[in-house]
């Protein structure tokens, strides 16, 4: 890196011009209605994890039903569809999006950039409380007559709002309302993240010196600000179709032998709107994971990230491309086949920047001083899993291969690998990595090893066989196998195997939760920089960082985020705020 150092003469410390912090004066304004990004981050994370637990329990119930149909008498086909829908929507939107952007974004952006807080702390606080409201509205749908919607997380009309779909009475209304609320709340947070990254950095922190974590979260937020509008519009229109009886998405229909009032709408319009949001959403989840994993690998392999510039451009390129691939989710929707040709091409082009990232991670590890810490283990697991999921993506991106595989377990296996398991691994790795900064204590290593190995191997035990089931033709979203001419009965024993693995993996997450709580009190004290990392958040004067983050003076940045094992340096890492040694005469 040529531009790793500003210049020979030291730069005076500088305050960012517009900082005007709100100073809390009571317990409530400090910890409940807090405007401090770090507190908001913790609120976001805890809420997301709590609702994620609901989704985890739902997945247990689904797996139990698939393996041992009929043994849990309260699960009927409608219930099963409701579990599927809520599990999907919660995991994608309310857990992954909220945790990566609301949780990690809020905690790490100001700290990693050397800012005192987000640009608009009040808006940031509102963002969390509106998110909480969205979660509550979503959860309330479990308790209304008819239960939550069972339309599948894609909520395709016309069926989503018609009699026959579970939860068509109230569930779908609450789901759409909750999404609208979520988007409003997210926009408030998202504006904060983008403005802080663009306009609120510390002295010396150029965009090309930002840690890749910030690049990932930043790009994902931009995607979200441009993609969520499509979902917003789709949700509003479907809400009107359901509540007012408009026909945006509703063609003429006969239901239960009766001609419905609807007519003239376009069901495929919703699919376009949904996937114009839905595909960028995959990268809203994946890009922060890419960024975080780059930093974890670099730190724990004590080696600078390979090809930093290419990594940045790959993130940006993936972000741009993600807006022109959405219809690869719609090959079987009946749209013009020429579209399929176009979208298959753009989809496969995404493999290029993605492959660049994978190669660069591997090359960063190459001859690195790899410490197999828990964050590193999860980062390695991410790479492997992401490559696995990415390869099946090449199958599904091609129209002719996708058509027979559509709506089979193969698709389920693919997207769980690539945007379920892989980002979750990064979340775990990141939690083990940054927990010491948040609490001042390390997470327990032994419990961490247990958690990692069972989760990692278990995830493969769950999702590898699913590919095979999909190739056999086992459809997704069916509450039991039934008997067909093409699926052998032995496939059911594979289903039982998957379920047992899923229950074990689910159970070990409780060990992780226990670890989170236990280490809060009994964990080993970590000190300010336990991983000997270079990025600014580890250089704060106090750990955990107080309100305002930096004490009296803001840090000044002299170098990029990856000065590990610099030849000639005394230590094996140089923090970003370490000034260059005075140049020789």
């Amino acid at each position: 890196m040529v531009d790793a150092v500003i210049g020979p003469e030291p730069v005076p410390p500088a305050e960012v011009a517009e900082v005007e912090l709100y100073h809390p004066h009571s317990w409530i304004t400090r910890y409940v209605f807090s405007q401090d990004a770090k507190v908001i981050a913790i609120q976001y994370s805890l809420t997301a994890m709590a609702i994620g637990l609901v989704a985890l329990v739902l997945s247990w119930l689904m797996r139990w039903q698939l393996a041992f149909p009929g043994t849990l008498s309260f699960i009927d086909p409608s219930q099963y569809l409701q579990y599927i829908t809520m599990h999907g929507m919660i995991m994608v939107v309310y857990l992954l999006t909220a945790l990566f952007l609301g949780g990690f974004g809020n905690y790490l952006i100001p700290l990693m950039l050397g800012a005192r807080d987000m640009a608009f702390p009040y808006l940031n606080m509102l963002s969390y409380w509106i998110y909480l409201l969205a979660v509550l509205v979503l959860v309330s749908s479990f308790f209304v007559p008819g239960g939550p919607t069972g339309a599948g997380w894609t909520l395709y009309p016309p069926q989503a709002i018609l009699q026959g779909t579970p939860g068509y009475e109230m569930g779908i209304i609450l789901m759409l309302t909750s999404l609208i609320i979520f988007i409003i709340g997210f926009t408030m947070g998202g504006l904060n993240y983008v403005v802080t990254v663009l306009q609120g950095r510390a002295r010396g922190m150029t965009l090309m010196r930002m840690p890749l974590t910030v690049w990932g979260i930043f790009t994902a937020t931009v995607l979200a600000l441009l993609a969520f509008p499509a979902l917003f519009v789709g949700a509003v229109m479907m809400l009107f179709d359901r509540v007012l009886g408009t026909s945006f998405f509703m063609p003429s229909l006969v239901s239960m032998g009766e001609q419905l009032q609807y007519g003239g709408g376009s069901p495929i319009l919703f699919q376009h709107l949904f996937w114009f949001f839905g595909h960028p959403e995959v990268y809203i989840v994946a890009l922060p994971a890419f960024g975080i994993v780059s930093d974890l690998i670099s730190t724990h392999a004590r080696r600078n990230i390979f090809g930093y510039r290419m990594m940045v451009w790959a993130i940006v390129a993936i972000g741009v491309l993600s807006f022109v691939v959405w219809a690869h989710h719609m090959y079987v929707s009946g749209m013009n086949p020429w579209f399929g040709f176009f979208f298959a091409t753009t989809t496969l082009i995404i493999a290029i920047p993605t492959a660049i990232k994978v190669y660069n991670w591997v090359l960063t590890l190459w001859r690195g001083d790899i410490h197999l810490t828990i964050p590193m283990l999860f980062a390695l697991a991410f790479i492997v899993t992401f490559v696995n999921g990415g390869l099946t993506g090449l199958f599904l991106g091609n129209v002719v291969v996708d058509v027979p595989l559509s709506d089979t377990m193969f698709v389920v296996a693919h997207f769980h690998m690539v945007m379920g398991v892989a980002p979750i691994f990064v979340i775990f790795g990141a939690l083990y990595h940054w927990y010491p900064k948040v609490t001042g204590r390390m997470l327990n290593e032994g419990l961490g090893q247990l958690h990692f190995w069972i989760t990692f191997l278990g995830a493969y035990a769950i999702f590898f066989p699913m590919h095979y089931l999909g190739l056999l033709g086992v459809p997704r979203r069916y509450h039991e196998m039934g008997s067909t001419s093409f699926v052998p009965e032995s496939a059911q024993s594979l289903n039982v195997f998957i379920t047992v693995a899923a229950l074990i993996v689910g159970a070990v997450q409780l060990v992780f939760l226990f670890n989170l709580i236990w280490s809060l009190r009994y964990g080993r004290e970590s000190g300010g920089n336990p991983w000997r990392a270079t990025t600014l958040e580890w250089q704060t004067p106090e750990t955990p960082p107080p309100h305002g983050n930096w004490g009296k003076e803001l840090p000044v940045v002299y170098r990029w985020a990856y000065d590990y094992n610099v030849p000639g340096a005394k230590e094996d890492f140089l923090p970003q705020n370490r000034p260059p040694e005075t140049s020789p005469a």
Partner: protein
């Protein structure tokens, strides 16, 4: 010396060229947009996001207009007013559009006077802008009432495709909501200007931050955006 190659590379040699120089400028220290305040940056990014919302609404309107199997009502007849003994097509919309575009003019003047620290003129011009905005919403309410009396509903109308009413109420309603919020913000900021908050550094009730006269311009950005969106709605909904 930690990294000798850095010392070797003189400033002149490492100065980037062409595309890379653009990237370097943009990526440079502290701020990507040097003269842009946080508030203004936020408004621009919000407006970009909002553009996507309105684009999705308008594209959806075009799609259902093509997908519907019944004939689309003729907007020149639907939106005609019976005045002076004859039907004048689109007359109300023409007046509404005129009012809204005029309000953009008064808003621009308010921004000008705000930067001259002319509190009185700024506040009055913002109030005029708000008044014109309120007049627009009022006329829209009149238009809605008239159409509802003629039997237009979101799910049906007497003249043809039911999607006509659906998209009409949804899109003009969403835009009208934007105008209404704009009027509220205009009134709040006008009050602050009038009271001299931006000179005394008085802190906001919610944000506990002190504002400055740029707030007027940021409000103006939003207002011009709402006007611009109206031009597109006017063109695609009323003239098509």
């Amino acid at each position: 010396m930690a990294r000798s190659e850095i010392a070797d590379a003189t400033v002149a040699d490492s100065r980037p060229t062409r595309w890379r120089s653009i990237v370097t400028d943009w990526a440079s220290d502290q701020r990507a947009f040097k003269q842009v305040s946080w508030g203004k940056a936020m408004m621009w990014i919000f407006l970009l996001s909002d553009t996507f919302i309105f684009s999705c609404f308008l594209l959806s309107y075009m799609t259902v207009r093509m997908s519907t199997t019944v004939e689309w009502p003729n907007p020149s007849e639907v939106f005609a007013l019976h005045l002076f003994g004859r039907n004048i097509p689109l007359i109300l919309i023409a007046i509404m559009t005129f009012v809204l575009i005029t309000s953009s003019g008064t808003m621009a003047m308010a921004v000008n006077f705000a930067y001259r620290r002319d509190r009185r003129k700024t506040a009055i011009l913002m109030l005029v802008t708000a008044l014109l905005g309120a007049a627009f919403v009022g006329m829209q309410a009149f238009e809605w009432t008239k159409l509802i009396e003629e039997g237009v509903r979101p799910w049906e109308n007497p003249w043809g495709a039911p999607q006509f009413g659906s998209t009409f109420f949804m899109i003009t309603g969403f835009h009208g909501t934007h105008v209404t919020f704009g009027v509220i913000f205009l009134l709040i900021v006008a009050r602050k200007v009038w009271r001299g908050d931006f000179d005394t550094g008085r802190r906001g009730f919610f944000t506990s931050r002190s504002g400055n006269y740029e707030t007027v311009e940021i409000t103006g950005l939003y207002w011009h955006f709402v006007d611009l969106v109206w031009v597109f709605i006017f063109a695609f909904f009323y003239l098509w």
